[in-house]
């Protein structure tokens, strides 16, 4: 198929360039759609261009990757694109998810304002993501990376120009991460003597010594895009009021794909990433911290969007933990978990969007009993929730087991953290499911008449849930057919996990979560309050209070530091301004005024000054006569 496309378009670089350009064209078309049928037009554009992109990506994947350079006519500057291995796998996966998300978005904006700009930016993001996945040159990668940041900022700004706090926060945090990435890229390129990833991959750099800086910076950049701590705090902020499709697309899938893709490339291709090395430890700690604290924050949320957004953070922790082990099984688990997460987290966001679409709220205090009103949505939700909780047999279970396996091998503490995360994940989803779908409805009068969601929203949800089931029931497909060859690792174990003890422990944790949920329900009086006994436990309560007030948010620390710095700068600048505006002119005019008062018009004084001047000149001559003054 790729050959056909190549034959149609000529050089292999052309289809790759079109993968960047096509989405942009689609976005422009969607944006230009006007009139009464604009919803249908957008849907058509989303389907057409999403499918075209998917076809291109699939053809690339099935063709075994490609490489090509677009010479820009300037010596030494070429736009080199190369697709192989993990990138080739990620392209169709991203294309698939994008198609689903685009359909969902077109449907979501059917009756809402602002869809045009949103679709435009969404499509451009796809182009940027494709570019980032295909880029061979680190500089080109950085270009697309920044492009992704720009579209993210734009999407967050749409419709909220007055309240742009989340957008600024995202820009600041992701921008910081991108700056660090730039630093890392510079260091890496300098160390390797080349900016081409395929060239570096031939002779990977050592992650010790001078390479540690480049490696750590690049990993931080990748983590920032994926939304790991400490670059996470814009996500809950954006979750409060961003459109639901945004949440599904960005924190849900596209950003994770980009971030984890890069992290995997760094770990497998660019650097010799030895298990147990300080760099490995660094990534694992970051992953463990992210998963633990992310889910701990998710546990206490009373709003569906915020709850899901904290999970989006927490899940990144698992992926990083897996990749950070540096073990083949861990990396495979991380990538697999990323793919699973993209499916079920997007599914969860779509379901949440459907609920919001029908009820007009995501506040769990007001929701309840939707099981009957929205059965399809509820079914999809439960499939995804079981997956994310890692119930044995689901796709999330299999990827988590791989990560647990690797984590246990790397250090017990990481395994314990991962288990604790699994416990809280399960507990929070029990709470969410119970509150939204099982308890009696608490919606205000007049909004009780809830119906099933629209077809345009249901189809993506069902598709995603089906993919989850497929990946869980037949995990050899993703693991052995897709990920294994992509990572160049033929020995990934598919099927039921080998280590029965770990499965037992995981199951025990899930049962514990269920027991805790039942206890909490009884104690708190309802599913919503099921986690309150943890929330308000002595000692933990204070920590949560601090976190809720944003005192533990690195962004706020950064901002406080930045504010302090800018205040200092302003003070210095004020001082300099004062010096030039007040002090110097004041001194000059003050001297002038003093002199002016001194020359008071008296003839005698004039004469005395003149005589004093004569004395001064005589002094010069006296010194000259004595030989004191010489050239």
């Amino acid at each position: 198929m790729f050959k056909t496309i190549c034959a149609l378009l000529g050089d292999p670089v052309n289809p790759m360039i079109s993968m960047c350009a096509l989405p942009v064209a689609g976005g422009v078309l969607a944006c230009l759609s006007r009139g009464r049928s604009r919803g249908a037009l957008r849907m058509a554009v989303a389907l057409l261009f999403g499918a075209a992109n998917l076809v291109f990506a699939l053809s690339l994947y099935l063709g075994g990757g490609a490489s090509g350079a677009l010479a820009l006519g300037v010596q030494g500057l070429e736009l080199r694109l190369a697709v192989s291995g993990i990138a080739a796998l990620m392209l169709p996966f991203a294309g698939l998810l994008f198609l689903i998300v685009a359909v969902y978005a077109a449907s979501w904006f059917h009756k809402r304002e602002g869809g045009g700009a949103y679709m435009l930016l969404l499509f451009i993001s796809l182009g940027m993501l494709n570019g980032a996945l295909m880029a061979d040159n680190l500089g080109v990668l950085l270009f697309f990376w920044e492009g992704l940041l720009c579209t993210l900022f734009g999407l967050l700004l749409i419709g909220r120009r007055e309240n742009s706090k989340a957008a600024v926060k995202a820009l600041a945090l992701s921008g910081t991460a991108d700056l660090i990435l730039m630093l890392g890229i510079l260091a890496t390129a300098r160390l390797a003597g080349s900016a081409s990833m395929s060239e570096i991959a031939a002779r990977p750099l050592s992650a010790d010594g001078p390479g540690a800086l480049g490696c750590a910076c690049m990993l931080l950049g990748a983590m920032g895009k994926a939304g790991a701590m400490p670059f996470h705090s814009w996500i809950p902020e954006a979750a409060s009021d961003a459109p639901a499709p945004f949440l599904a697309a960005f924190p849900g899938s596209l950003e994770k794909i980009a971030g984890i893709y890069l992290a995997t490339r760094i770990v497998t291709d660019l650097y010799e990433f030895a298990p147990g090395s300080p760099m490995s430890l660094f990534v694992m700690v970051a992953g463990a911290v992210t998963l633990f604290f992310g889910v701990a924050m998710a546990l206490i949320q009373k709003d569906m969007r915020r709850l899901l957004s904290y999970h989006a953070i927490s899940q990144v922790g698992y992926m990083l933990l897996g990749i950070g082990t540096g073990l083949p099984v861990g990396i495979a688990g991380g990538v697999f978990h990323m793919m699973n997460n993209a499916l079920y987290k997007t599914g969860l966001f779509v379901a949440a969007g459907a609920i919001e679409d029908q009820t007009g709220t995501t506040d769990l205090h007001k929701l309840g009993g939707l099981r009957r009103a929205m059965p399809v949505t509820a079914a999809c939700f439960f499939v995804c929730a079981l997956s994310i909780a890692g119930v044995p047999g689901t796709n999330g279970f299999f990827s988590k087991e791989l990560i647990f396996d690797a984590a246990l091998e790397s250090g017990t503490i990481f395994y314990v953290a991962a288990l604790a995360g699994a416990f809280m994940t399960a507990a929070s989803f029990l709470k969410l499911g119970g509150a939204a779908f099982f308890s009696e409805a608490r919606l205000p009068q007049g909004r009780r008449n809830i119906r099933e969601a629209r077809l345009g929203i249901l189809i993506p949800a069902v598709l995603l849930a089906a993919l989850c089931v497929l990946f869980g029931a037949y995990n050899a497909l993703p693991l052995q057919t897709l990920i294994g060859p992509a990572l160049g690792d033929a020995h990934i174990h598919a099927g039921w996990p080998e280590n029965g003890t770990l499965v037992l422990l995981s199951s025990a944790v899930l049962l514990l979560a269920l027991a805790d949920h039942v206890y909490g329900r009884k104690k708190g009086g309802g599913a919503l309050a099921a986690a309150d006994h943890i929330h308000y436990a002595p000692g933990i309560k204070q920590a949560y209070a601090l976190a809720e007030r944003g005192l533990l948010d690195p962004y706020n620390w950064l901002m406080a530091a930045a504010n302090g710095f800018s205040a200092a700068c302003a003070w210095i600048e004020g001082g300099v301004t004062w010096f030039y505006d007040k002090a110097v002119p004041g001194l000059v005019t003050g001297t002038g005024q003093t002199l002016r008062r001194f020359w008071n018009g008296s003839v005698s004084r004039y004469l005395i000054i003149a005589v004093a001047g004569v004395a001064c000149i005589c002094l010069i001559f006296l010194l000259a006569a004595l030989g004191e003054v010489a050239p």
């Binding site: 000059v588 005024q593 002199l595 020359w599 003149a610 005589v611 004569v614 000149i617 006569a625 003054v629």
Partner: protein, 488 residues
């Protein structure tokens, strides 16, 4: 050609003298309306003669032209007058400023026109005589004539302020006279002659090579005397008082040329004769630094238009002193060119003052503002003079200051050249303040009906602005000439 060249120097003495006689021979009632025109004619004649003479002398390759007034200069020991390139250039400046002054005087001077013409001619004679002299004592005599004519010109209207300014100038000049004559007497005691040819550092040190303490004293006193005449700080006290109180046409003369001929030319002569003595150049440079700084600082806080212009003259004289103190031919050229560019822009500024005074009746800049609309020509002329004074390329002032800075650098006074450069910021500051207060900003409603000045003052403003800019634009030619004679 040679005979024309030999004849030209006589113009500088004969023309004013003849005009003086004519002015007094014809009955006053009849002369009154023509007196200023007569003065202007003499000035124009002098300008033309100086330009012609300069060109001829430069082409002839002779160093100087000697002549006597109705006496033979060939006899041994006979006194003689002479013109050389330096004095011809300064005679040109004198003629130029005198013409500008006459153009302004045609408008500003109503009464005393005949007296003005008389004193104007006396002043011209005094300055020309100084430039033609070949003897320090002759120089002194003509300096006194210049001074006396200036006092009377300032006091001419016998207004309270004019008399006060003249009195202060006269008192300070009396001190200068005492200083200079004492210095001359001490020099004469040592050398037995005051002719330039017999003087010099070598003549003072004599056979032993050791210089008499009296000679040092004499030089110090001479420098002090010329410093008073030049208005160098801290001897400048009289200058703003005198220049402010005089009629504007007289102020143009005083600020534009008198302080430079009476003061700066004295320094030129002294440095030419005694420049080998480091103390001479050092004290001139020290005077220069003090003059620039004091002048600029005081100009910054004035509220009277002409007083600002007067302090600006003080400040600019400092630059001229710098050029002279460098002691090199390049420094001298820089100083002379600055004399010219300062003469041009200061005449422009004072013409503006005359226009403002005629149209507004006041020169208090606090009461002005926004006059650019009413008086566009005056405003524009003032801007050209400001740019030239601040040393903005390509105006004339830029080039002359540049040459002075280069010569200071070459003389090894790097700190001084940096100071000169730094202090020129103050020049920009006070001129900007003047522009802002007078021509820009909100307009005082009192001046809503003010019209632009017409007649000779407007003509002189236009010509002078053209000179400010044109001289600067032609400057590369001057540089080429300097290069051809090996100065740069």
């Amino acid at each position: 050609m040679s005979s024309i060249l030999n004849g030209i120097p006589y113009v500088f003495v004969a023309a004013p003298l003849f005009a003086f006689i004519l002015n007094n021979a014809v009955p006053r009632e009849r002369m009154r309306s023509h007196a200023v025109a007569l003065s202007g004619g003499v000035a124009a004649l002098q300008l033309a003669a100086a330009i012609l003479g300069f060109a001829l002398l430069a082409a002839s390759g002779r160093g100087e032209v000697r002549f006597g007034l109705f006496w033979s200069v060939d006899a041994a020991g006979a006194a003689y007058l002479r013109v050389n390139l330096v004095s011809l250039f300064l005679l040109l400046c004198v003629g130029f400023v005198a013409l500008a002054s006459a153009l302004t005087a045609a408008k500003t001077i109503d009464d005393h026109r005949c007296s003005f013409a008389n004193l104007f001619m006396a002043l011209l004679l005094g300055m020309n005589g100084m430039l033609l002299a070949t003897d320090l004592f002759t120089l002194y005599v003509f300096l006194e004539i210049t001074g006396t004519a200036s006092f009377v010109l300032i006091a001419m209207y016998k207004s309270s302020k004019g008399l006060e300014g003249a009195f202060k100038y006269l008192t300070m000049s009396a001190l200068a006279t005492i200083m200079m004559l004492t210095g001359l007497a001490l020099l004469f005691m040592h050398t037995g002659s005051l002719a330039f040819a017999d003087l010099g550092a070598a003549a003072l040190s004599g056979a032993s090579g050791e210089m008499d303490i009296l000679c040092y004293g004499a030089l110090a006193l001479l420098i002090s005397g010329f410093a008073i005449k030049a208005g160098a700080a801290p001897f400048h006290s009289w200058l703003p008082d005198a220049h402010q109180s005089a009629d504007t046409a007289v102020s143009i003369l005083l600020s534009g040329i008198v302080i430079k001929i009476a003061g700066a030319y004295g320094f030129i002569v002294l440095v030419e004769l005694f420049g080998d003595l480091y103390a001479v150049r050092l004290s001139v440079a020290a005077l220069g630094v003090a003059t620039i700084a004091f002048g600029a600082l005081l100009a910054l806080v004035q509220t009277h238009f002409k007083r600002i212009a007067a302090y600006s003259s003080v400040s600019q004289v400092g630059y001229i002193l710098f050029g002279i103190a460098a002691g090199s031919p390049l420094g001298l050229v820089g100083a002379l060119l600055h004399v010219f560019s300062h003469a041009a822009f200061k005449s422009t500024l004072f013409s503006g003052a005359a226009a403002l005074h005629e149209q507004l009746g006041t020169l208090d800049i606090e009461q002005m503002g926004g006059l650019q609309k009413n008086m566009p020509v005056t405003g524009f002329a003032s801007v050209t003079s400001f740019l030239s004074a601040a040393g903005v390329p390509p105006f004339a002032g830029f080039w002359s200051k540049l040459l002075i800075l280069i010569s200071l650098w070459q003389a090894g006074w790097i700190g001084l050249s940096a100071a000169a450069l730094g202090l020129s910021i103050l020049t920009g500051a006070y001129f900007l303040r003047l522009q802002k207060k007078v021509f820009f900003g909100p307009r005082n409603p009192r001046w809503d009906d003010v019209k632009e000045i017409g007649g000779t003052i407007r003509a002189s403003q236009i010509v002078l602005s053209a000179v400010n800019l044109g001289a600067g634009l032609c400057f590369p030619l001057v540089l080429l000439y300097l290069q051809s004679i090996g100065l740069i």
